[in-house]
Symmetry: C2
Subunit: 348 residues, 2 copies
Amino acid sequence: MSNQKTYHVAVVGATGAVGQKMLETLEIKNFPIKKLKLLSSSRSAGTKLKYKDDIYTVEEATPESFEGVDIALFSAGGSVSKRFAPEAVKRGAVVIDNTSAFRMDEDVPLVVPEVNEEDIQLHKGIIANPNCSTIQMVAALKPLDKKYDLKRVIVSTYQAVSGAGTEAVNELKDQAQAFLAGEDLTANLLPVKGEPNHYPIAFNALPQIDVFQENGYTYEEMKMINETKKILHKNSLNVAATCVRLPFFTSHAESVYVELGKSDLSVSVIQEELAKANGVTLKDDPTQQVYPTPLDAAGLPDVFVGRIRKDLDHDNGFHLWIVSDNLLKGAAWNSVQIAESLVKHNWL
Amino acid sequence: MSNQKTYHVAVVGATGAVGQKMLETLEIKNFPIKKLKLLSSSRSAGTKLKYKDDIYTVEEATPESFEGVDIALFSAGGSVSKRFAPEAVKRGAVVIDNTSAFRMDEDVPLVVPEVNEEDIQLHKGIIANPNCSTIQMVAALKPLDKKYDLKRVIVSTYQAVSGAGTEAVNELKDQAQAFLAGEDLTANLLPVKGEPNHYPIAFNALPQIDVFQENGYTYEEMKMINETKKILHKNSLNVAATCVRLPFFTSHAESVYVELGKSDLSVSVIQEELAKANGVTLKDDPTQQVYPTPLDAAGLPDVFVGRIRKDLDHDNGFHLWIVSDNLLKGAAWNSVQIAESLVKHNWL
């Protein structure tokens, strides 16, 4: 290990929910770090964070922060990425960006390593990490597309509040506590921080994640639709999404209907493909009540799939239930996996 | 009002979650009651319940309890209905049964009054109240079927714990309290009382409602599939369902994809049909963040519909978000509506 190449790594948004998980993931994976720099907005600068045995002081991000940085992991919101990612690239860093800022840019690869790792080498300085709800879905659907030609996807999501950040996690806790004490609920944040109306999430379901687009879909729904096609390199794919925020802390679940290009398939051949797929764990045995749930998946890096059933009317249709930790595979874990690919293949 | 005909009404399962709502609904609707009899298992017999200004003592149900009863509302589980409904019918009562015991029997009308009220007159003593998640869906879909010929339905549900009874409500409360206090969660009931495995519902999602069938679908999912076809008198309809239990107390929500027999329809014509439908309230304005949620719908008898969008690939496809109080329109309210129809049309 002594002659392994090591890298100067920056984490932008280190104090946030995903930033924390990025640090944990870098540590778990023992990423070859030469020097670590933790960056944030001025508001969180000065915070002390632990990585391995050392304490780091979070610094305010400036263009100059990226001097000498090899790999910069961004997860501090789209506006921060738009402002600082080009500055980091200008200074020679490769940016792995967890916001939606660059995902649909033609020049920016959008990558789930199990699905399209080879796209990483096309980067021009920025590689985008897809939306959390997209990552877990394409990780499960890619093996089916490869073997049986995916034609259509209709997904309804069940998404955890941690996808909206630490403040949303606290809002759910506070509201749940108030509700159980018989007090009134105060909603200040969800469904969307910048929007005029806020609704309680505790013991409720909010069918709005991110802002509405002119076509009546939310931005989250359009992200799932567009990103899925881009990652799978399949513009002809039909994708529809309904995204719903729910009162749990960690892991997104998805009820997914797929139509394949092949008929006469059995549930067991679908199970077989998923069981051998990288990063996917099959958890599917109705006879033993075995299926994934958000609580079970929390803290684990895999994408779990269960409840696989054949549609009763459409011979090429299947229904699946896909669950994964939105902060890990949906964000931090996938970002660090991209960094590992960069290093392993020398694609920096 | 003095010469209005009045009826001897029995409520079986009066102490349960739905039974209580039946009493409330009879009172709100000022149902013409001559005599009221509250029945239950031996376990709950002796309980005192209030109806209008009187206190009633709940009696243990026996075959003889139904002597002289005109209308018997059952909601005490399938085995109670199977045992006592025929006894009630034998003694001249018309039974409105809220369990799944008789729903698919050819001789038993399965009724949502806004959808197929005329089926009531075909009864031979028993009329079945559909499953909660089915009722709200068909109430919203019937107007679209009537005008535009419904071809296909794919639904993913978001179902409240009260659908599993008062014990499930208490389990969610207890678990949520324990979780917030940092204690371990105990699961003794959900997803299904009689099953070997129980999983926490607080801050979680359970993709199992009722027991699994041989085809991998749960009984709840098969109820939605089969009941929808029966109520709409449409065996050719394609229906697929994924049913999920969630940590909220009241109201089921549903993400529903429909395909219609007509193309080139706009969102506004779909909204128009739903806005004028009986028992349906349109709550759909993304520009103002207006859409139904379970908390908002709780305590109200209507079926609320929002998030109506056209599928981006299929010109005859639409996505809807349907929410209703599972104990009211999904159970007690619909049952009492059936009783009202019986009386109004003299179909007893």
